[in-house]
Amino acid sequence: MEPSPITSSAGSNHQGRIHSRVLVGGFALSAGVVFATWFGAAALGRDEAKPRQSAPNVSSEEGFAEEEERFFAQQALRENCLICHSEQMISGQRLTSAQWKAEVEKMVGMGSPLPAEQSELLINYLSQEYSDTTPAHPVKYLSYDDAMKQIEPVPSPARIEGVDIEAGKGHFTTHCATCHAPSGIGGDLGPNLLEIASLFRQPDFREVVHSGRHRMPGFQTVLSPAQVDQILGWLQAQRYPALPEESR
């Protein structure tokens, strides 16, 4: 899997959409919404490390506050960490609060769009969920063949051919460049799209542009399928910059 919002398996899209619906439910934080969030997560196999043995405490004001904090912290994690990392990169760690703070600051320095005002919320959440005393998760396995299927870095199906690349550049400039930069190498909100393996996973690419992912909105009412393919054709023709050579 790639650090890009255009990469997704069918499964993860499905999961993402469920969460989108939960999020669309609003942040009014009625007990119903909180429970739906919890239930949606539980049904999808949430956190094995700290399985809840009962529904979250929503019967007190403290319970609301705690769940509200978790809710927004998880959202911050999804929108700012999972652009590049898988969940295991986070859940595999066991760190102190000071170490989590240093990690979050390092990642912001490396381009995570985490808003400054959410930093403390996220650090507190990580420090509680993945502290140096949290029991380790059970080991998970992935076969080599399944790993290869996730990466698929070679054309399959073949490269997109015969589309109007110049038109694709125009659509990209209009609709994508604000977040992904005019060149496509990524900006503050959208990751790099040049030379990434997901350019070869055309169905995934189309689905993400159509429906959106993480922070990205869906463009289903804005871009036609043909226009999306033109954008893909243009992206496939672009190259990430090489190293400068001083003696050239």
Partner: protein, 382 residues
């Protein structure tokens, strides 16, 4: 963390949803005996080899651990070219086919992540929590880097060889995985640009179509998806060369304030061994059996392997097999006949041709590099 999207295969999702619905998500989802590689990070891909798969002299490609800094790049947007430039008489580029027509060499070498064993350091340190299996041994085939540098005519002013792979960072603020090798190491006849791994075209997750092989040195030097080589009079700029992959010159406790001048770049691996059979937690029968494993070091070769059975057991020499080529590993085995049922610890320690021996515990360092504490498994004899 199932509330997060993005990491499950379709099959896993179905399995997890089904399991989650039946139990409301309580309990583990993967059986311990499920085959495959240990998943440390699915995006980018970090997979660890179960130690019990490391008994053979050569680790099969599909069992070999995988470490990625950035995402696997698209391969095939255009024909792959390896560029050599910078302080050279003539810039040169080679296609895969052109590289295949140059003299090919095959070298057996251990590839080990600098952070293999990071999970054993206390206090814990951030980073991929590798257990014992971020290591493997393969026969790498390809072209000597010196043959390419010679053809490009590297200038006498050049002292470092910058290496860049095709994996693009997600954000312009994210550093590229840019590294450099001192020229002397780049010119070593065992430093090769590999096209093949254990006889097969180099698989993409292992850096295919081209990866640098630096026998004896930690994996951070083994540039994957190699595309650009630049000769320079200075080290590569950027965090991965200037800040990352460095150790304190001498052990420093947690919290110690270290200056950049206190730090040195990782180069050679240290001496290390693994008990590959029996596996951790295995159940054995009373009576004679063979305990086996592998051992390697960075500079030189392993000369001695000792095993101790039981917490107080004496160290007994094991039989070492295989070549003494620098950078490769040797297999070892020893007969063991537990006479009574019980829980036993088995320990292994290697010594190399420089007289270095595995310590009981590796001194702590803040990045969790180069763990080489005496290897241990616990098994039950019934």
């Amino acid at each position: 963390m199932g509330f997060l999207d993005g990491d499950l295969t379709r099959r896993d999702s179905v399995k997890r949803v089904a399991f989650g619905l039946s139990t409301l998500g309580f309990g583990p989802f993967v059986k311990a005996d499920e085959p495959g590689l240990i998943l440390r990070n699915s995006r980018p891909l970090d997979l660890e080899t179960p130690v019990t798969a490391l008994s053979p002299r050569l680790t099969p490609n599909d069992k070999f651990f995988i470490r990625s800094h950035l995402s696997t790049p698209a391969i095939g947007l255009e024909p792959w070219l390896l560029h050599v430039g910078g302080q050279v008489e003539r810039r040169k580029s080679w296609s895969i086919e052109e590289l295949e027509r140059l003299e090919q060499v095959t070298i057996p070498a251990v590839l080990q992540c600098a952070g293999n064993g990071r999970a054993y350091f206390r206090p814990r340190v951030p980073g991929v929590q590798w257990d014992r299996g971020a290591v493997g041994h393969a026969e790498w085939s390809g072209v000597r880097l010196i043959d390419l540098l010679d053809r490009a005519g590297y200038k006498s002013t050049s002292q470092h060889v910058h290496l860049l792979g095709a994996d693009a960072p997600p954000s312009p603020k994210t550093p590229r995985y840019l590294r450099s090798l001192p020229l002397e190491k780049a010119l070593s006849p065992s430093t090769i640009v590999a096209l093949r791994m254990n006889g097969a075209p180099l698989p993409y997750p292992h850096g295919g179509p081209l990866r640098l092989i630096v026998p004896g040195w930690t994996g951070n030097h083994w540039m994957k998806w190699l595309r650009q080589v630049v000769l320079s009079d200075v080290e590569a700029p950027g965090t991965y060369q200037q800040a990352g992959y460095k150790m304190p010159r001498s052990p420093a406790p947690p919290g110690a304030i270290l200056q950049p001048s206190d730090m040195v770049s990782l180069t050679y691996m240290n001496v290390k061994s693994l008990i590959t059979s029996p596996g951790e937690g295995a159940t054995l029968k009373v009576g004679p059996q063979r305990v086996q494993g592998v051992a390697w070091t960075g500079a030189g070769h392993v000369t001695k392997l000792e095993v101790a059975f039981g917490a107080q057991g004496p160290w007994r020499p094991a039989e070492l097999e295989g070549e003494t080529t620098e950078g490769s590993w040797r297999t070892w085995s020893i007969q063991w006949s537990p006479e009574r049922a019980g829980v036993y610890s088995i320990r292994a320690r290697a010594t190399d041709s420089h007289g270095e021996t595995q310590p009981d515990v590796t001194p702590w360092n803040k990045s969790g590099y180069l763990w080489n504490g005496i290897d241990r498994v616990t098994c039950e004899v019934s």
